[in-house]
């Protein structure tokens, strides 16, 4: 039973065979990705998740854009934008922005660290399966890369009105996008299930 896998998109059954490094197994009928071979998944995921956590803290502690007008410079963070939407009674919009740019990316990083840090030292997190389940549920709502595009659009939009200076955290945001994408690409979910089954046998 363990040597078979069903395509998530068309349900066709396939035999699981070992893959050469860095390659992908595709469904023979619909072309969806069945599974991938990951190089050094545990160390990579962990390193990227830790980097991501540091960048996340940086990105949200410093202003990401400053506006210069009439000799005054004022800076803003992501939170102040959300607070302003809330003040304008756009609560639904404020909530959505809060969830997709702050809460979900933070959850994503926390879940990765919670699963893979103990695994690195040979232990198994008690709620590992639940953490992964949450992670795969919320992942679609993590939209940092879209937010980065919005920063660029806003820069151009305001360039006629005032001088806009990108802050420290814009660079942290930019780096975070690549780190988050690389982190979720480096995960080998099989690692989680192998560990889980091993912990049951113990």
């Amino acid at each position: 039973m363990e040597h078979r896998i069903a395509c998530h998109d068309c349900d066709l059954l396939h035999e699981v065979r070992p893959l050469p490094p860095g390659s992908v197994a595709l469904c023979s009928r619909c072309g969806s990705v069945l599974y991938r071979h990951k190089r050094n998944p545990l160390d990579r995921t962990l390193a990227l998740a830790l980097t991501g956590m540091i960048l996340f803290i940086l990105a949200n502690s410093f202003p990401f854009l400053a506006i210069k007008s009439a000799g005054l410079t004022r800076a803003t963070t992501l939170i102040s934008g959300i607070a302003e939407l809330h003040r304008q009674e756009m609560n639904l919009v404020a909530l959505l922005v809060l969830a997709t740019t702050l809460v979900v990316p933070l959850l994503e990083l926390c879940a990765l660290l919670y699963i893979f840090l103990p695994m690195k030292v040979g232990r198994t997190s008690r709620h590992m399966a639940m953490a992964w389940r949450c992670l795969s549920k919320v992942r679609a709502w993590s939209m940092m890369e879209v937010f980065m595009l919005a920063i660029l659009v806003a820069l151009v939009k305001l360039s006629g009105m005032a001088t806009i200076v990108p802050g420290v955290s814009v660079y942290a945001f930019a780096a975070l996008i690549f780190v988050l994408a690389a982190a979720s690409n480096s995960i080998d979910p099989q690692l989680i299930w192998d560990n889980l089954e091993k912990s049951w046998r113990r």
Binding site: C30, R74, G81, Q88, V93, W132, R133, I151, V153
Partner: protein, 209 residues
């Protein structure tokens, strides 16, 4: 002979951990995956009606999202309401056509494309179509990928509102279209999640008589 799918083999595929569980064992486990504890369905339950419900609601909200103003600007005594399209036209006219293109694609084209593709897929499944299933599955995967980029305009408004407030050079407020637009993005994402692409393939195994 029809190809062997998990369902024909009496197995259900867990979308979280890819474990194949015999249907009988699944029933004994109250529908939960014995390995990771997720709820497992052989096919997403009520996929078509849930998808239609999200889709129809999204179509309804698509109109106020595009017809009502997205931003309300007061700058040097001039008050202006901008819808998504009037913003696009403004940028095109002032020569910032890359920005005009980004906003047009993300805010107008992508939601519309998503609504059309998902409706097409739902209709094709309901008509028990056997037309190009691999291509239809690929279309479904594309709608899953592109939906998130529609959030751009919502984020732009968030940033503008925060910055302009601080600079005190103008007033920008989010307009009444913003919540509708946010709902269109969320609802089309829910619709894509509700659709089960395996239904496209189930029809291949039991073609029309």
């Amino acid at each position: 002979m029809a190809p062997l799918t998990a369902r024909r083999a009496g197995l259900a595929n867990c979308h979280t951990c890819s474990l194949l569980t015999p249907l009988q064992q699944l029933a004994e486990n109250h529908g939960h995956c014995p390995r990771c504890g997720s709820l497992v369905h052989s096919r997403k339950s009520n996929s078509l009606s849930r998808c239609w419900a999200f889709l129809v609601t999204a179509v309804i909200f698509y109109f106020p999202a595009n017809l009502l103003p997205m931003t309300h600007t007061a700058h040097l005594g001039k008050v202006q309401d901008d819808t998504i399209l009037s913003g696009v036209i403004y940028f095109f006219a002032t020569g910032s056509w890359p920005i005009a293109l980004v906003i047009f694609i993300a805010s107008v084209f992508v939601p519309l494309l998503k609504l059309l593709i998902l409706s097409g897929l739902l209709i094709s499944v309901q008509l028990r179509s056997t037309w190009r299933p691999a291509e239809r599955t690929r279309l479904y995967r594309i709608t899953e990928l592109i939906g998130r980029w529609s959030m751009v305009d919502i984020y732009v408004v968030t940033i503008l509102v925060a910055l302009v407030k601080l600079g005190a050079l103008a007033e920008i407020e989010a307009g009444p279209a913003a919540p509708f637009f946010a709902l269109v993005v969320v609802l089309t994402m829910f619709a894509a999640m509700a659709f089960d692409p395996r239904l496209i393939w189930d029809r291949m195994e039991t073609p029309r008589d």
